[in-house]
């Protein structure tokens, strides 16, 4: 006796069903709402001397495309050099025009060590902290960018 044609088509349909289920199981891709970033590095000096441990924060001139947390920032190393961070380590910044604020801040908050750290700290004038009064601007282009050195006048 021949097998019932119904039986054959049942298995066939199951196989077809399986092929459709698999992509669903594989899951949905996550929405990537991050702006493309381009590596951006630079240097901070104060009266010609490199400033270590300075927080450099880039504020976009046109804020419409930026979410609040998209504020490229970096801390300078012993040579006064920094590499901007927006979403992940040293990923740079979205291409845009920026105003820049620079201030010395403790890198880590560790109780008594912080007190010592603050006592040995050189003081940068407060006006450089606020991008509105610092007079510092920068442009990140759609390629790896070296920002011009910010030489803060000591007087």
């Amino acid at each position: 006796m021949k097998r019932s044609p119904l039986m054959g088509s049942c298995c066939h349909w199951l196989a077809v069903l399986a092929t459709f289920v698999v992509p669903f199981v594989a899951g949905c891709g996550s929405d990537n709402l991050q702006q493309p970033t381009y590596p951006a590095t630079g240097k901070v000096t104060f009266g010609g001397k490199p400033v270590a441990g300075a927080m450099v924060v880039f504020h976009p001139v046109d804020k419409s495309k930026f979410k609040w947390e998209e504020l490229p920032q970096a801390v300078t190393n012993e040579q006064g050099e920094y590499s901007l961070h927006t979403y992940s380590s040293n990923d740079g910044a979205p291409a845009a025009d920026y105003t820049v604020g620079i201030a010395l801040v403790p890198v880590a908050d560790e109780g008594e060590d912080q007190v010592k750290l603050e006592k040995n700290r050189i003081i940068l004038p407060v006006r450089f902290a606020d991008p509105k009064t610092s007079g510092l601007t920068a442009k990140v282009e759609t390629k790896a960018t070296v920002i011009q050195t910010f030489d803060l006048p000591s007087k």
């Binding site: 006796m1 298995c11 199951l14 196989a15 399986a18 289920v21 698999v22 199981v25 927080m55 450099v56 924060v57 504020h59 609040w68 947390e69 504020l71 920032q73 970096a74 801390v75 961070h85 979403y87 992940s88 380590s89 820049v100 604020g101 620079i102 201030a103 010395l104 801040v105 403790p106 890198v107 880590a108 908050d109 560790e110 109780g111 007190v115 603050e118 003081i123 940068l124 407060v126 902290a129 606020d130 991008p131 509105k132 610092s134």
Partner: protein, 348 residues
């Protein structure tokens, strides 16, 4: 008469095996998710127990259990019978005072409040693992932090059992200042002026500390003031202010989800006075402080948990909520601070 052929064809068998494979593939992640959900629930239960413990403490003492206790030369903490030491401080951590309310009365009785927390006489107590302080989602389970005895760099080193929960009782005020401007500035805060550095977003559960730098900047070093944290001073409302939060995984340092070998996240022990912390905010890689990430980026004295998408917190009203990892710095500051007039609530 033809005999009916019984059995399955190879194709049928393969199809059945494929379907079973797909079903198992569907099931396994669900099982793993269910296990994590159970761990999370257990973790939530721990946080709730701590919340109940601080409320029971409050019923007995009329103020909340302090974030830490410090007695300094000339300044004893008479409330808990902590004498003034000739030099240094006698300090106690946040977990100790709620022990009687976590059914750990025997342990509490074995601890000597007249001695420093890391004194050898307290060694057995501070090394005891307390289930309510350990989040099952934290990968290493029971952990022990170690350090040098007070005023010494030599052995014997103390061993302290870790807690995945602690107190976030402040928010770094620099986050509100130029060049960051990540949250509303605090009135009167001058950047780089040490005398205004105390103007943080102050939280609910404060240290009962005679070390003035914890509450009023850096000098004088000690003073005779013992802050008592009361519900009445939380003008933002107890349901909008954190009591205890998660900072899981200490003393192992974790950045994002990676354990950093050879590094230590300080203040792990439940008996360690350095357990409480101020939130700084970190960059998303967990490397630099004062960034936009409110939690789950680094566990060194920040909000951190091993749950997907957020962390547990018990509020001062005793409610436990799961705080989303996408919480912004201003919203977090509103929940940390107890008396700045913001009543925003973090969405779960």
């Amino acid at each position: 008469m033809l005999r009916k052929k019984s059995g399955f064809t190879l194709v049928e068998l393969l199809v059945v095996i494929a379907i079973i494979g797909i079903l198992v593939g569907l099931l396994l992640p669900a099982v793993q998710a269910a296990r994590e959900a159970a761990r999370r629930m257990s973790c939530q239960n721990n946080v709730k127990q701590i919340g109940l413990a601080i409320h029971n403490f409050e019923s007995a003492y009329r103020y909340l259990p302090p974030a830490r206790i410090d007695a300094a030369p000339g300044f004893p903490v008479v409330e808990f019978g902590v004498p003034a030491p000739p030099t240094g401080t006698i300090s106690h951590g946040p977990g100790l005072l709620i022990l009687p309310y976590l059914e750990q009365n025997a342990l509490y009785s074995a601890y000597n409040l007249q001695l420093h927390w890391a004194d050898p006489a307290n060694a057995a107590v501070i090394a005891t693992h307390i289930p309510a302080f350990i989040c099952p989602s934290a990968p290493e389970g029971k952990r022990t932090d170690t350090g040098n005895a007070p005023g010494s760099t030599a052995a014997p080193r103390w061993l302290a059992s870790a807690s995945d929960y602690s107190i976030a009782n402040g928010m770094n005020g620099r986050l509100g200042l130029a060049p960051l401007n990540r949250m509303p500035p605090i009135p009167g805060y001058v950047f780089g002026d040490p005398s205004t550095d105390s103007l943080q977003y102050i939280g609910a559960i404060l240290p009962m500390s005679t070390i003035s730098s914890f509450t009023t900047g850096m000098s004088p070093p000690f003073y005779n003031k013992r802050v008592k944290s009361r519900f009445a001073s939380m003008i933002d409302g107890t349901s909008n202010t954190f009591a205890w939060v998660e900072d899981a995984g200490r003393p192992t340092l974790y950045r994002v989800r990676t354990a950093i070998a050879g590094s230590r996240a300080s203040g792990a022990g439940w008996a360690d006075p350095d357990s409480e912390f101020w939130v700084d905010g970190f960059t998303t890689d967990g490397l630099t402080s004062l960034g936009p990430c409110a939690m789950n980026c680094v566990n060194n004295n920040e909000l951190y948990s091993f749950h997907t998408g957020g962390s547990m917190a018990v509020y001062c009203d005793g409610s436990v909520r799961f705080i989303s990892a996408n919480t912004s710095i201003p919203l977090l500051a509103a929940s940390v601070s107890s008396s700045l007039g913001e009543i925003e609530t973090i969405q779960e």
